[in-house]
Amino acid sequence: MDVEKKHFTCVTCPIGCEIDVELKDGEVVSMEGTKCKKGQEFVSQELGEPMRILTTTIPIKGAKWAMLPVRTDRPIPKRLLFRVIEELTDIERRAPVKMSDVIVRDIAGTGADIVATRSMNREKKGKFV
């Protein structure tokens, strides 16, 4: 089997080690550039199932602004980022909303909830636009 080479920048801490990994049949045969154990853990996570927090917005009605910022309440698999965005296409909220309110539970089967990252009051006054 060929040896496959991969490069990672560890983002566990600000040092940001540049790590070179060699893989054979999907198994790590060598790893260079890590300065600590966390770097190794970072690489195995990235090789297995890289996880990311997703932050985005959804439309909100009756508030001062058009969009409500939201996030996943925990990291989700990177490969599902676009799936989650797609599942959010038809989601809309009506003001008021409180920070940390759950907008969608267990989005795309990730186990993560989509939560609001700010509060928005209902606009009481009518307003010309």
Binding site: T9, I53, T56, T57, A66, P69, L81, T117
Partner: protein, 412 residues
């Protein structure tokens, strides 16, 4: 109107300063904000990565802001929204304007400047070509997408690898746009490593170092840009031009402190940071006027912004309550070898000296930060211009200084 401490601007710097002035015993604290909400730039920074140092939490910008706003709401700090400060005099008379009061004056015992920074625009970097629609600074695009809910374009080129540009590269990709590449004139990236990994690499967005946009094409709407490779002197190399079709160009080419008010008040500005020169107490050259956050120098972490806000607020309260005496003149803090940015610029023997340092070039080998005339050598594994280094020098070590303090970075 009268106040003990008046804070101008309600981003993380201003919010922290107002809280800290209140907690330090100032009775009448006034917080002025030109927008209709508190929070500053954080409201549009919907991504996470805020407060990792300060709270050991990974907040988004709005979450970080709301936390501070809730604290402020528990106090009697007076908040005036939609209130723009238009003038400040050296004797701390503030002129502001808002819809209810029109133009009005505030007399304040001390003032904290926390107006943040603004983005450099196309004019300040001078790219030749036409003037079509479709060219925005990254921060303006961020506001469009995250607050107003519309996409500035479909095919995007980003000039400059500052954090905001990289964050927008990811944001626009997630929203369905195609980001064709990020072009950086320097031979190293402008932003943090974590943003290169999580905003560019994660989405296979190429980062081209030593490249710049040399021409803009398009009549009504942008049709594309010409990019060129640059040499060590950052001059475009003839023959390396490449046309890239795009309908949107985002500029992420740096931030500069908002310093109109500071200039009007006769405050000495630092040629290096472009913001007011201050001592470790955050006091400017104008007595009783303090400055913090991005209006002082552009920080890359909100945690550092908040730290300067806390210091400014505490000392502004001391000044206002008469608990302020200067026993000896301040000394200069001078950037030496390999140091591009150094903040603060003076030391006045009242507090610990917390230095914020940017190196002049990337150094990826062991080095030492030398603080002379003290025999203080702080060892580091690397120094990068895009990552501010924070160094604390305790007050008792500094008491015998008479001339000036110099900071050098020496490669070991």
């Amino acid at each position: 109107m009268k106040a003990d401490v008046t804070v101008i601007g309600s981003g993380p710097a201003g919010l922290t300063a107002a809280l800290s002035a209140h907690e330090s015993g100032a009775k009448e604290v006034l917080l002025l904000e030109r927008e209709e909400e508190l929070g500053g730039i954080l409201k549009q920074c919907i991504h996470n990565g805020f407060g990792l140092e300060q709270f050991k939490e990974d907040y988004t910008g709005p979450e970080y802001a709301e936390r501070l706003i809730k604290e402020i709401e528990k106090t009697n700090v007076r908040r005036l929204l939609n209130t723009m400060v238009i003038d400040l005099t050296p004797d701390r008379a503030i002129t502001a304007v808002n819809p209810e009061k029109g133009i009005f004056q505030i007399e304040s015992k001390s003032v904290v400047l926390a107006m943040g920074c603004r983005e450099r625009a196309r004019g300040s970097i001078g790219i030749p070509g036409t003037r079509p629609a479709g060219i925005y600074t990254a921060g303006v695009a961020q506001r469009f997408v995250n607050i107003d809910g519309y996409l500035p374009g479909k095919e995007i080129v980003i000039l400059g690898s500052g954090d905001i540009g990289m964050i927008m590269a990811r944001r626009l990709t997630l929203e369905g746009a195609q980001v064709k590449g990020v072009y950086e004139i320097m031979n190293y990236p402008g932003g943090l490593k974590r943003n290169i990994v999580q905003c560019l690499n994660d989405f296979d967005i190429p980062l081209h170092l030593s490249h710049t946009v040399t021409e803009i094409r398009g009549k009504e709407r942008l049709e594309g840009v010409v990019v060129s490779r640059v040499d060590e002197k950052m001059q475009p190399i003839g023959g390396s031009e490449k046309f890239i079709a795009c309908d949107t160009l985002l500029l992420s080419v740096g931030l500069i402190p908002e310093n109109e008010l500071s200039k009007g008040a006769g405050i000495e500005l630092s040629p290096i940071t472009k913001g007011p020169a201050t001592t470790e107490t955050m006091e400017t050259a104008v007595a009783g006027v303090f400055s913090c956050g991005n209006v002082s120098t552009v920080f890359d972490l909100v945690d550092y912004v908040a730290q300067t806000g806390m210091t400014a607020g505490r000392n502004a309260a001391r000044y206002a309550t008469g608990d302020w005496k200067k026993e000896r003149p301040s000394v200069e803090v001078i950037p030496g070898e390999n140091v591009r940015v150094l903040f603060p610029q003076r030391y006045s023997f009242q507090d610990d000296l917390i230095l914020f340092i940017r190196s002049a070039k990337p150094i990826e080998s062991p080095l030492s930060i030398d603080i002379s005339p003290l025999e203080m050598h702080i060892k580091k594994l690397y120094a990068r211009p895009n990552e501010m280094i924070r160094v604390k020098v305790p007050r008792d070590k500094l008491k015998d200084i008479t001339e000036s303090i110099e900071v050098n970075i020496t490669e070991r």
